[in-house]
Amino acid sequence: MKRSLLLAVALLAPAISLAGTTTVKGSDTMVILAQRWAEAWMKQQPAKKVQVTGGGSGTGIAALINGTTDVADASRAMKPDERAKVKAAAGVDAFETIVARDGVAIYVNAANPVKSLTVEQLRGIYLGDVTNWKQVGGPDARIVLYSRENSSGTYVFVKEHVLKNEDFAPEAQTLPGTAAVVNAVSKEKGGIGYGGGAYAKGVKELLIEGVAPTKENVLSGKYPLSRPLFVYTKGAPKGEVKEYVDFCLSPAGQKIVADVGYFPIK
């Protein structure tokens, strides 16, 4: 009995490893998208396995450097020191593929009458210089800042594009995901938060410089807070990883991008 069990395990083990699993890790913003891609891909190719986990762009890139993932999803471009680390660890350059575009939407509570902010006003708010909504044309109410954990690609994006690399005000509450930010802002009258457009439910998206985060504005780059979404691999993708990345860029993959709420690039 015991021996037959052992035999079965011994026979199965190579079969499992032969089937191969592509691991995808990274951006929390992209995790829903990556999961949909993986599901559709595995439906098309039942023999292939794709395993998706989130954690943040930094987490995914760190995993790529440490060799614990095949594909890193990132909602920001890789930093030069990260590229150097990939090169040092793997001996090849990190290979970048843009798979979709995203606009970072700014959320406020649905009851907030403020409709539009400039990037400069937004910067003042997140630096902690502007603390009351009446300073930007709203009601007399304290601004309650919501931010993301510093492992989030959206955090880095806002830090670079809005704060010009200065620090967030210490009052900014850091929440573990865009969904948590949306949930908090929908409950807090004076709240303001940021995140991928795909999540905006029950809150109001602000116009930035008078431009709404719509598809045309994001794709054309007219919306000031728009960004590409990346997939990183060690060297140009090969084998099963290449098949997966190609699927993401295929018409079926790009349709999923639109379904999830991001902007297809093709």
Partner: protein, 331 residues
């Protein structure tokens, strides 16, 4: 045992070999128990060694010290041009800010709120259960409170995030929905059963003769409970408080979900806070292995370890003094 063996009769030689066998068995059992205990101690020691080893570069690696020296962690730093220096925790930045002060303040605030709420409730409930409750009531109260300890902290955290935060904001008008009070009260829910269980055991193990003597001298039941039984159980109650404190300082999930995680240095309990443990949990996933940020997070782990260690040692010393004083006054 020995007597029973002899009275059972049998030739003296057989009895001697049996007692030898028994002694060998005793020795084996003792060895196993000692090994188990030593394994526990060794595990704790090894964990500490591992955590400390990962934190050490803060003191010795010149490159990491440039980013995270002790003075950067504990003294006020210049944050923005033309502003007074202050304390800021923002380790992912072009110039990382790694002040521990806001994290200490946050941990202290949530822990104090939790203890202020949990200790009176836990001790009072234990006093009620041990001294006043009819047996039937006690048989319900005790398991129900102890069941509270079995609720996963992520569930309590979610409850605090969704329900308690809104209710408390409506009641007290907090500017920040998630704050030290919300996190502290949610923490109190996990500490009450600890304080309750341990104090209850201490109260019930006070000898009956104390109560009988007190009642015989004309004291009421309340006077007996408050002036005689509770002081007699003081060492155990203190141990309960220390255990609760240790849990409060180390609890992660609840504070991560309910505190708002904003590293603010302020005394107001209505502000959001970021605690030491939540910082490790939130940031460990993303750090680059072996970097400055990584070492700092392990350094926080060392700090938490030292806090609990010092606290437990101090409490142990106080308990011993209490016991000595009480036994001395007995004589």
């Amino acid at each position: 045992m020995e007597v029973a063996a002899i009275s059972a009769g049998g030739p003296p030689a057989a009895s001697a070999s049996r007692s030898r066998r028994r002694r060998a068995r005793e020795a084996a059992i003792q060895a196993v128990i000692t090994a188990v205990a030593l394994t526990g101690i060794a595990a704790v020691a090894l964990i500490f060694v591992f955590v400390a080893r990962e934190a050490l570069p803060i003191l010795f690696d010149p490159q990491i010290r440039g980013e995270a020296s002790l003075s950067k962690m504990f003294l006020p730093q210049v944050l923005r041009q033309g502003r007074p220096p202050g304390f800021m925790w923002q380790p992912v930045s072009s110039v990382p800010k790694v002040s521990m002060i806001p994290l200490f303040v946050g941990t202290l605030k949530t822990t104090l709120v939790a203890m202020a709420a949990a200790v009176p409730v836990g001790v009072a409930a234990a006093l009620f259960s041990a001294e006043f409750a009819p047996r039937r009531v006690r048989e319900v109260v005790k398991p129900v409170i102890e069941l509270l300890a079995g609720i996963p902290s992520v569930v309590l955290g979610f409850f605090a995030l969704m329900v308690m935060a809104s209710a408390l904001q409506a009641a007290f008008g907090f500017t920040f929905r998630l704050n030290a009070v919300v996190a502290g009260l949610a923490l109190a829910l996990t500490i009450v059963p600890i304080v309750f269980t341990v104090s209850e055991d201490a109260l019930t193990s006070v000898p009956r003769s104390y109560r009988e003597a007190s009642l015989a001298l004309g004291a009421t039941r309340w006077e007996t409970a408050w002036r005689v039984v509770l002081p007699a159980a003081a060492p155990g109650v203190l141990a309960a408080v220390v255990l609760g404190f240790g849990r409060a300082i180390g609890e992660t999930m609840i504070v991560l979900m309910a505190s708002g995680n904003a590293a603010i240095t302020s005394l107001s309990l209505g502000d959001s806070v970021r605690t030491l443990s939540a910082t490790i949990a939130a940031e460990m996933g993303e750090v680059v292995f072996g970097g400055a940020h990584y070492a700092i997070l392990f350094f926080i782990g060392v700090e938490l370890f030292l806090f609990t260690f010092v606290l437990n040692t101090a409490a142990g010393a106080i308990v011993q003094r209490l016991v000595r004083r009480m036994t001395a006054s007995d004589a």
